[in-house]
Symmetry: C2
Subunit: 273 residues, 2 copies
């Protein structure tokens, strides 16, 4: 069984659309409380295609935002996305690896990372790398999901199985789709202080059609569906079982269906050296 795939979110135009949909639908939920002062130096790491950058810019006019990603292709898409969505925004874009950030120590007042740690084999080491570029007293904001929080009606063992395959593929690629619950110990372990975790819960049913469409269908189910070929290629499941699981998952977005997911938003302070 080969689960050693190179699956990472965000590397197709379909994925780009999905990540845009996700951020637009969840923006209020995820970005509430995140606004940086005019003139403050803010680093967004792993900005990807700019899905969150556009909300940082909107919520923190006047902040000096630097956005980095290790993928030049993603950065090009992020620039284009911002040019369309926030034409006047001045964002500094840099191609860089999170573990080798090209900035002196203490360069930033605030650091922001959304859906980044979940893809990294060494999230604790990543947090230490972020602390290096943060001034003492500066804040780090981290947002992560946790697939263990998924709950839906009608319940379906087959639907949970396809989600489990996505979790396994992400783990095989060195990531962790169950990371949200670990933010508190990870941040403490990396030397951050005043760690505060807040759950941000998505609930969708027929009375919230934009959440059903934007989150249940276009974000969550789309994300799971995107690993179909990898799951089959890795021998995790059969096409028939996969398709039955996805069909069951789609029922949660129809008629009487309900869907629940929790994100975890952490804010922590760099206490200094």
């Amino acid at each position: 069984m080969n689960t050693n795939t190179a699956y990472v979110h965000g590397y197709s135009s379909q994925e780009t659309r999905r990540l845009g949909d996700q951020a637009d639908t969840l923006a209020t939920l995820l970005h509430a409380g995140t606004a940086y002062p005019v003139g403050s130096r803010v680093l967004e790491v792993g900005c990807g295609v700019g899905a969150q950058t556009v909300h940082l810019v909107r919520n923190s006019p006047g902040a000096r935002i630097v956005a980095v990603d290790r993928s030049e292709e993603s950065l090009a898409q992020a620039r284009a996305h911002l040019a369309t969505q926030e034409p006047g925004a001045e964002v500094t874009w840099r191609t860089a690896d999170l573990f080798h950030l090209p900035f002196p120590a203490r360069s930033f007042d605030h650091v922001f990372a959304c859906f980044v740690l979940e893809h990294l084999p060494a999230p604790g080491r990543a947090l230490a790398a972020l602390r290096r570029v943060l001034r003492p007293g500066g804040t780090l904001t981290v947002i992560e999901g946790d697939h263990g929080s998924v709950l839906f009606h009608p319940d379906s063992h087959r639907a949970h199985e396809v989600i489990g395959h996505q979790v396994r593929l992400q783990a095989a690629a060195g990531g962790n789709a169950l990371l949200g619950r670990q933010l508190q110990p990870l941040l403490r372990g990396a030397g951050f202080g005043d760690v505060v975790i807040r759950p941000r819960t998505v609930y969708a049913d027929r009375t919230r059609p934009s959440m059903v469409e934007g989150f249940t269908r276009k974000t969550f189910i789309a994300m799971v569906e995107s690993v179909r070929d990898d799951a089959l290629g890795a021998g995790l499941t059969t096409a028939a079982d996969w398709d039955r699981g996805i069909a069951d998952l789609r029922l949660t977005a129809d008629g009487d269906g309900t869907f629940h997911y929790t994100f975890f938003k952490a804010v922590a302070v760099n206490p200094g050296p």
Copy 2:
């Protein structure tokens, strides 16, 4: 395998303490937004030992609250609890079965039921019985948990197993510990309109010691622990496996542990006949 036990929450003094702790810790979370006008006729069904009644009274001074439960013993405890906590409160106490409420149709402006449907074999029929006593335009508020939302660190298969035994015992007794996700279709199915469901998420870690103590330890773990004898008697598990599962669950309330649970709060309107 005999899982046909008579397990119901609230029938021991330890349970009474547990339910009191639970309500006090969760009161802000669960009761936020629930305040009834002066003079309005409010029915609380399944008030049990009065754990929620005390908060209804506090948040709705001047409302005419009638609290019913089918257990005279619970009602006696509820009276005593209110007499201690809210000495001046005027609550009308009635022993009654939810399915045979001794009130004319349309007797109440508002009905409130917290952690009641989860114990009933026919929650849809129960909701219809509640709609009968509610005037057209009156509201029903229902709060239920859903054990499918449980998520913790450190993760543990054995801990999830003991929770699963509690779910199975509650199902065998005719209840459903996974009911929260179904509130939307249940309320619609019973003829209610304007159904709005809001998730109310509990998150506990070392930075929230009162939630760790009041919810993780004294509410959730205590509830699971209370079915130990039933689980062993039903042959669901061995004493050794049970104890290992509980020990793992306790780790989620220590040191780096984290714990997450979502309640679902529904408000719906009786559109009339």
